[in-house]
Amino acid sequence: MSARAGGQPPVVVAADAQSPASATAGRSWRERLRPYARNGGLALTLAIVLGVVGFFRPQYLSRDNLIVVALQVSFVGMAAIGTAYLIISGSIDLSIGSLFALVGVSSAMLARSLHPAAAMALGVALGGAVGWINGALAWRIKLSPLIITLASMSIIRGVVLLLTDGYAVRGVPREFAALGQARVCGVPSPVWMFLLLAAVAHVVLSRTTVGQHLLALGGNQAACEAVGIRVRRLRWGAFTANGLVVGVAGVLAASRFGSANPSFGTGMELDVITAVILGGVAFTGGEGNIPGVVLAVTLLGIINSGIVALGIDADYAEVVKGAALLGAVSLDQFSHEARDRFRTMLAIRERG
């Protein structure tokens, strides 16, 4: 890398002296592929795990079973997309598991007296409203959103238990269950919704100014403020969008199961954070992509169900998931260090 900017007085260059093409010419194919290499590793791991489970239990790879696995993955997956956005932009929401339950039981309760569509819409709106409140608190109270949403996680779970007296909400009309149990091309609707949300989230993150500014915000909030990006709106919007997505997941879960249990979503926030970090999102913000998160959440779902299918004690799944996370983040760090060493070596060679 030339050090002209620092080394010598800059030469006055006419605006067109550097052709635009040279802006891209400097990127080697290695540099261009690097962001995808990690996802390649995840996909390969996914294939190996599927292969191993399928080798010992061929019925695991049957269409019906894979659909069940996909269904399990889809609820955590939807929540993981919202959390990915939050962590990429430098915040977090720990209350998603509680909110998932709140939306589930509320929409199920409403469905007993309202039109099913209204109950669903209100459930999603409730998710958005709670996300909006979390965003307002996180913006106004100058504390880590980790602490603020830890509080709302507890409050919301308490409200859920108060609403239900701790009992599952049953007696939900059949029409309310219709959406969650519907299948399109043999695939359950929650899976479609997960894929749809993932596709939209990917396009927004990688192709729009909103996505670019979320990444920038996770990198340096002061820089975003200095260039006039509406930081508050962006942060607040990420919390609200996350609430809406959790709302959709909660409504679909209540609809799918035809009932809602107050213990819905317990510990979901930790599963979601595991998936998001395993998927390559930097916990410090500013880095991450949606395909990686989708791969990671799928991998974790297959580990969960695959271990059961193999007849291994399900508790081992927790051990394996933890080990996978630890392994992935260690690999991230080692590869960063290796890249730095490589660059240092190149620089030394270049300058003698």
Binding site: G26, A222, A223
Partner: protein, 257 residues
């Protein structure tokens, strides 16, 4: 283009600013012209940063008038200030280390192709071209515009920050202690850049502690002391000793203008 316009781009008239009981600025009058480099000097706490933050819209003056051309704007928001063409190159540069050089240069002004509701779709190619052109203008050579910039040198980062400020087609660029963290060669390069920014017909305001820098690049020197303007002369007519005396309080009797 480098001829000073007859009308000042920015005019501060007897601006005062209080923080609690402390008077941070006390009747500061300052005119900034296109094509001119004005150096704002003064000790710590003299009010330099307060004035910069007022011009950038982060603080509002408690007394006095602030004019942009023919427009009086006393309560300016940071967004409005930017819309009026005020850009600041901060001491800490305020770059996103996780993004590439191109993304940093066009940050907040990314070229877009079409919009869909609140979503504006990025034109990545045009963004890269635009950034490459801006970086070439400031004489920076950065081979890979997409790699996160955390690896780059202080001089390269400085060039990115200045290229970004110029990308907004500003009328006033304020340089807040731009050379504080740079070595001597990079300092020289940065000073040339400031000169070049002014030659584009932009008003440049350099905030600095370093009188070597100030005399190397400034057309006019303004010194603040305890929030009061104590010196305002063309650099050609100013003696270093006089500036130092003004900054340190030996010249307070000669309050200007």
């Amino acid at each position: 283009m480098s001829m000073p316009a007859p009308q000042p781009l920015v005019r501060c008239l007897a601006i005062s600013k209080y923080f609690g009981g402390v008077k941070a600025l006390d009747g500061v009058t300052l005119e900034l012209y296109a094509g001119e480099v004005v150096a704002l000097v003064g000790d710590n706490g003299a009010g330099k940063s307060t004035l910069v933050r007022i011009l950038a819209g982060f603080y509002h003056p408690d007394q006095g008038e602030l004019w942009f051309g023919q427009q009086r704007v006393d309560a300016l928001s940071p967004r409005q200030a930017r819309a009026l063409g005020v850009e600041t190159v901060h001491q800490h540069l305020l770059l996103c280390d996780n993004l590439g050089a191109a993304a940093n240069v066009v940050l907040g002004q990314e070229p877009t192709v079409h919009r869909l509701g609140p979503l504006k779709f990025l034109d990545h190619r045009r963004g890269r071209e635009e950034a490459a052109r801006r970086l070439a203008e400031v004489g920076a050579s950065i081979s890979d515009l997409a790699t996160p910039i955390r690896q780059l040198s202080g001089g390269q980062r400085q060039a990115i920050a200045i290229a970004r400020a110029l990308a907004a087609s500003p009328r006033l660029v304020m340089f807040d202690e731009p050379t504080a963290a740079l070595g001597s060669r990079q300092t020289e390069a940065t000073l040339r850049l400031i000169r070049r920014v002014a030659e584009r017909g932009v008003a440049a305001l350099l905030i600095s502690h370093n009188l070597d820098d100030v005399f190397a690049v400034a057309d006019r020197i303004v010194a603040l002391r305890h929030g009061r303007p104590v010196f305002n002369e063309l650099a050609g007519n100013a003696l270093r000793e006089t500036v130092v005396a003004a900054m340190t309080g030996l010249l307070t009797e000669r309050t200007v203008p």
